[in-house]
């Protein structure tokens, strides 16, 4: 994931740092809570350096299990927050899957052309 970053041109590296910095400044500007800020920055980071969707899907499953456990121990507020994160991550997993699928199809087309 980060190998890509170091392989980039200097302007490319600066641009990525600027994007991440802008995300943090924006979160501060709208006074999002720390947890939401972390999640948002992570989201932007995944946009810049996508990971295989199965990892994100694993995150979703993990959060859903944690949500259920939190409900069982009657930490309803935390369970609510956790389920919202699971929902966000699920949305992102879907996006990653689509992008991955397209890449696979492109790869397959190139291989066929060759």
């Amino acid at each position: 994931m980060f190998r890509e970053f170091f392989e980039k041109s200097l302007i490319g590296k600066i641009l990525e740092v600027v994007v991440l910095f802008a995300a943090i400044v924006m979160a501060r500007y709208f006074q999002w809570e720390i947890a939401n800020t972390v999640f948002f920055v992570l989201f932007v980071l995944l946009l810049l350096h996508p990971i295989p969707s199965r990892f994100a899907a694993f995150g979703v499953v993990f959060l859903l299990v944690v949500t259920a456990v939190l409900f069982l121990v009657k930490r309803n507020n935390w369970a609510d927050i956790c389920s919202i994160w699971a929902y966000y991550l699920m949305f992102f997993t879907a996006m990653l899957s689509f992008s991955q699928l397209q890449n696979d199809e492109n790869g397959a087309t190139i291989a066929k052309d060759k």
């Binding site: 980039k8 041109s9 302007i11 490319g12 641009l15 990525e16 994007v19 802008a22 995300a23 924006m26 709208f30 006074q31 932007v44 946009l47 810049l48 350096h49 996508p50």
Partner: protein, 559 residues
């Protein structure tokens, strides 16, 4: 040649830019994503400021303004079926009126068949306050209703008419009717300003900090405070949350030598509202008028303040209290900031107007607001008082334990059921009473049971009997639960979410509530009766509050 070279250079630059964008497409995608999120949040959640000035001339009013009964467009106001089943005879008509312009109004008896008889006319002077009117008339057979009619319907005056009542008189002729005493109607005037500071060119930003309290210390001029007006600028985003600010009134001790201030005793009164629900207190001039009830001691110092401890304040969500930086603008008080239990005096004074309460007095006895004392003739008369379901009901109490409050949702006075909590009324009838009737109903079955006692000397108290009546509790009742915690189901957030589920089911619950309806025989010549309302301390239910609704006191009078 040069042009060709230039073109080639340009093409190279464009090509390089396109290659760069292609190479860094993810970064540009992320930037576009950030821009989208920023735009959505900025439009939906960025700070919007509502100032006193931007809300002047009624621009921010959310409460429905009362509609006049007579206008330029509608010159007639019918009160139908007022005389249905009434016998022919002499009657007294009482009503309250006010008008924004000078007007002449005709008063007529009206029948469905179309016939009309004029029974009076009255000239209205422009006024902001309702005034009582009384008309004596003979009711012939065959009339059903009453008609108020503008004499000149082209005039632009707006006339308000309310509380129309009729009473049959024991009079054989008009001279007997006119010899009767004029009806006394209690009216508590809350428009008198007891103390004020009207400078508002400076904004106090103390409430921008979390868990802070900012307010004004003032010296009491009057025994009762009925409201406080403040100028507040609201900074909020689209979703400021439902967490509530708390406006409270407390007594303070002020050491002039040390220039220090400290809080004394419990909170006398508090009022909770969110950055959105505060709008219901907005006035036409853009300021806020908060109902606030408290029995004060003259010359003592009191602190009226706003506490933001429960609110998530920040750059986009906070209140600014307007006032003056000049500490001499109100010589008998000062601004106080409370943070982490430390009170500090700040320079300047907040904009504020403290409203008192002036009661109707007859023979030096206080007449409750809306109470009627009327003579029917032949030595008979009647006293009647009923709660109105408005905040003004609180001002009728003769005493109340700390925490006694008015619920906007239920429209009743309620009090926390702890220690020796109670609230009481002193009913002065001016004339000796024949018999007294007290009626009221427990507000909700889930709340603590009520105990009502009466006395004629404040020493010997007698408990009034009560019975139980099945009442249908609508699910909406719970939804209307007062935000300040007048629910008996724990935290208000939880109770609201539970009731939000209830409202979608059609189920209605029948519950048994206490009903009081008792006749009391007073001692001879008694003109004053005392009522004390408290909770039944033997009731072991989990209710945290007690309250009664539909309180009514009537008495036959010997006049």
């Amino acid at each position: 040649m040069r042009i060709l070279f230039k073109k080639k250079m340009q093409n190279n630059l464009v090509k390089k830019a396109i290659d760069f964008i292609k190479a860094e497409k993810r970064s540009f995608l992320a930037l576009a994503f950030l821009l989208l999120i920023f735009s959505v949040n900025y439009v939906l959640y960025a700070k919007h400021k509502k100032t006193t000035e931007s809300c002047a001339e009624g621009k921010c009013l959310t409460e429905i303004v009362e509609k006049p009964q007579l206008t330029k467009e509608y010159g007639y106001y019918f009160v139908d079926d007022l005389f249905a089943d009434q016998e022919s005879g002499y009657y007294r008509l009482t009503f309250q009126e006010k008008s924004d312009k000078a007007e002449k109004v005709l008063l007529k008896l009206n029948a469905y068949a179309g016939k009309e008889i004029q029974i009076g006319e009255f000239i209205l002077d422009p006024s902001n306050e309702f005034r009582s009117r009384e008309v004596l008339f003979f009711l012939p057979e065959g009339f059903d209703g009453l008609l108020f009619q503008k004499e000149n319907s082209s005039l632009a005056g707006n006339v308000f008419i309310e509380t129309v009542n009729i009473s049959r008189l024991n009079a054989a002729n008009l001279s007997e009717a006119t010899s009767l005493k004029k009806t006394i109607i209690g009216k508590t005037n809350t428009s008198a300003i007891e103390s004020s500071q009207l400078g508002a060119d400076y904004s106090f930003l103390g409430l921008k900090e979390a868990k802070s309290t900012l307010g004004q210390v003032f010296q009491a001029n009057d025994a009762i405070i009925s409201a406080v007006a403040m100028k507040i600028d609201i900074n909020k985003n689209v979703n400021p949350g439902s967490r509530q600010y708390v406006l409270s009134l407390r007594e303070v001790e002020y050491d002039k030598k040390k220039k220090s201030v400290s809080l004394i005793g419990p909170v006398l009164f508090d009022l909770s509202f969110s950055a959105s629900s505060i709008e219901k207190y907005r006035q036409i001039d853009g300021s806020f008028l908060f109902p606030l009830y408290g029995a004060l001691e003259k010359d003592k110092y009191y602190f009226v303040s706003l506490d933001n401890s429960k609110v998530e304040v920040g750059e986009q969500n906070y209140l600014e209290l307007r006032g003056s930086q000049d500490s001499d603008s109100y010589p008998n008080g000062f601004v106080v900031m409370k943070k982490n239990k430390n009170l500090s005096i700040a320079d300047g004074d907040l904009y504020f107007k403290i409203y008192g309460a002036n009661y109707s007095l007859e023979d030096e006895a206080k007449i409750l607001n809306g109470a009627r004392i009327e003579e029917f003739g032949k030595g008979m008369g009647k006293y009647s008082y009923a709660t109105t379901g408005k905040f003004m009901d609180l001002l009728d109490l003769s005493s109340a334990s700390p925490g006694t409050d008015f619920s906007d949702s239920y429209r009743v006075i309620y009090a926390p059921a702890k220690d020796n909590a109670s609230f009481s009324y002193i009913v002065n009838t001016i004339y000796p009473m024949g018999s007294v009737n007290f009626s009221a109903t427990q507000l909700k079955a889930g709340w603590k049971k009520i105990k009502v006692s009466y006395s004629f000397d404040q020493n010997n108290w007698v408990d009034l009997p009560s019975s139980e009546k099945a009442e249908i509790a609508k699910p909406e009742d719970d939804l209307l639960a007062d935000q300040s915690g007048a629910t008996d189901s724990g935290e208000s957030d939880n109770s609201n979410s539970n009731s939000a589920i209830d409202i979608y089911s059609d189920a209605t619950v029948q519950e048994n509530v206490q009903v009081f309806n008792a006749d009391i025989v007073p001692p001879k010549e008694a003109q004053t009766v005392y009522f004390k309302i408290t909770y039944d301390q033997t009731d072991k239910s989990k209710g945290r509050y007690f309250a009664i609704k539909n309180l009514k006191v009537t008495a036959d009078l010997k006049m």
